[in-house]
């Protein structure tokens, strides 16, 4: 599996772990709060009963009154068993129910109940009260809450996962292109190094090999510089300096044999390294495409023209409008053009391509102040 996909999976799984753990903890906290609230209500209910009994004035038929109150509780979904001095007065709590604490949560007939066990001395008698209230509602709400949070988790995972995937792919693609561009010079350097080291060669061959190694090392250095520039571009910050246009044109003319130049622009504002990289890319592409390349600076426009073959309509469309290159359209790796557009965008300039059989190909850059 590609490294970036592995990284994506690890990051995504970590995110899922954190998200789901967080949501689960949240649901547990809310459930705990609900449960405590219900327990308090049950406790109040039980204590209300004990208080009511203690306030009876006429104690002659206290047992009947207790039964009456307990019936009321029963219709309100709470069951009670009341024993006075060991003698059963009311017995609504199932006899087979086992509990060991004064307050407990039990399951009976598939439903959840809070069970309270208390003893009260009321008017000289010891009353044992077992209070049982249905709290299935809390558990039902918890299940619904969990289902809701699971849906939220799935949605977030899908959205964040997709965004993460697209972002990481976008980052990986130029890295892949750069890696590809580095392999060729590395092959030459490694190959000629081994050729000198291991081959049965004469002095002339040795010299030739040395020349190739030096040339490709230079190419490698340029591409590494480009990689560093790309790194800066991704941070989105550029230096804004005033660059002497004539000096820039002269430097480019010296770097590219046969490059024609014509300039009436005095200065350009921008990042010197990025601007140089931009024109180097455009001129290199022009040289690859045709015999003659001309760099012209006039007013607010700089053009790079070459007399090469006409660029196809579809390719022109991609160059001018759609910067997402489908694999089949890309010549070499398309990395240089992407870099040019990144530089243009950062400077808030505009770039466009025009191409015809009669007039060749012209890249026009509109410089904004």
């Amino acid at each position: 599996m590609q490294l970036w996909k592995k990284n994506y999976l690890i990051t995504f799984l970590l995110f899922l772990l954190v998200l789901n753990t967080g949501l689960f903890c949240l649901s547990q906290v809310l459930f705990q709060n609900d449960l405590e609230r219900w327990m308090e209500m049950a406790l109040m209910g039980e204590q209300r009963f004990a208080y009511a009994v203690s306030e009876f004035e006429d104690t002659s038929d206290i047992n009947e009154q207790i039964k009456y109150i307990c019936r009321g509780y029963y219709t309100g979904n709470a069951r009670m068993t009341v024993l006075a001095n060991g003698e059963s007065i009311v017995n609504y709590v199932p006899a087979d129910l086992k509990f060991s604490y004064s307050a407990d949560i039990v399951t009976y007939s598939g439903r959840k109940y809070v069970l309270l066990h208390d003893t009260e001395e009321i008017q000289g008698k010891f009353y044992e009260i077992i209070y049982m209230e249905d709290i299935s509602q809390v558990y039902k709400e918890q299940k619904e809450r969990l289902a809701g949070l699971a849906c939220v988790s799935l949605m977030l995972a899908a959205i964040i996962g997709t965004m993460l995937y697209i972002t990481m792919k976008k980052i990986y693609k130029p890295v892949n292109h750069i890696a590809h561009e580095l392999r060729n010079p590395l092959t030459v350097i490694q190959g000629y190094g081994q050729y000198v080291q291991m081959g049965n060669i004469c002095g002339e061959d040795c010299f030739f090999a040395g020349q190739q190694i030096v040339k490709e090392a230079r190419t490698l250095a340029e591409r590494v510089d480009r990689l560093l520039i790309m790194g800066n571009l991704r941070e989105g910050t550029i230096r804004c300096l005033e660059i002497n246009a004539d000096t820039l044109f002269q430097e480019l003319k010296e770097s590219y044999e046969g490059l024609e130049t014509e300039n009436d622009i005095i200065s350009i504002t921008g990042d010197p390294n990025l601007i140089k990289c931009l024109f180097q890319n455009l001129i290199s592409n022009g040289k690859r495409a045709g015999e003659r390349v001309k760099l012209t600076g006039k007013g607010k426009y700089i053009t790079v023209w070459n007399d090469g073959k006409e660029i196809g309509e579809e390719e022109l469309r991609y160059l001018n409008k759609n910067h997402r290159w489908p694999r089949e359209t890309v010549k070499n790796n398309g990395f240089g053009i992407a870099l040019c557009y990144d530089i243009i965008k950062l400077h808030r300039w505009k770039m466009s391509y025009a191409s015809s059989r009669e007039e060749g190909t012209t890249v026009t850059i509109q410089i904004m102040e």
């Binding site: 590809h180 092959t187 490694q190 190959g191 081994q194 291991m198 190739q212």
Partner: protein, 217 residues
Amino acid sequence: MAEILIVEDESGINELIRRTLTMTGHHCLQAYTGREGVQLAQDNGCRIDLVLLDINLPDMDGFQVIKEMRDLPVIYVTARDQVPDRVRGLNSGAEDYIVKPFAMEELIARVQVVLRRFHKEEKLFYLKDLQVNLEEHVVYRRGKEVVLTNREFRLLQALIVNKNIALSRSQLLDLAWGMDYFGDDRTVDVHIQRIRRKLGLEQQIKTIFKYGYRLEV
């Protein structure tokens, strides 16, 4: 000696491959674009034993070029190292797929494998008064058979296949004794001495200081 067509647009790499294969006794034709490669293949088809083909060519990609070279064995030599590219390359009919950057000895070994598969490898080797039959594992010196042990022959064969290229002692150990053998590098020295003595190749099998040996032809 095989006739190998190299189709690679990077002139540095193209020349490197040519020099490497020429050193080991092959003859190379060079093309820098897909169309040029196809043209050379069509003009010299019956002579060409193997094609080394880059995928990223300026005019057409390697996958299109291979379609025009149906009958020729092809090895892709490319910077595209992703699994889908390798699979596509092999499915398109290539015999092998080498990823850049590659070691010289790897290129030579893979070329040798494909030539052997198509029975185009060198069968007879001549040097001074020696005739080495690589197929029958027999060596003649001045018309008389020279008895070599199996190890000695395999060592000699490794030097012949990689002629003019220095091989390290550990490489020679792997080639002649196999990857499972965990012996001393001095074993190689002893066998080389024996080969030199038996075949009179004291001047031809050169010792490369602190490295290994090279057969110079």
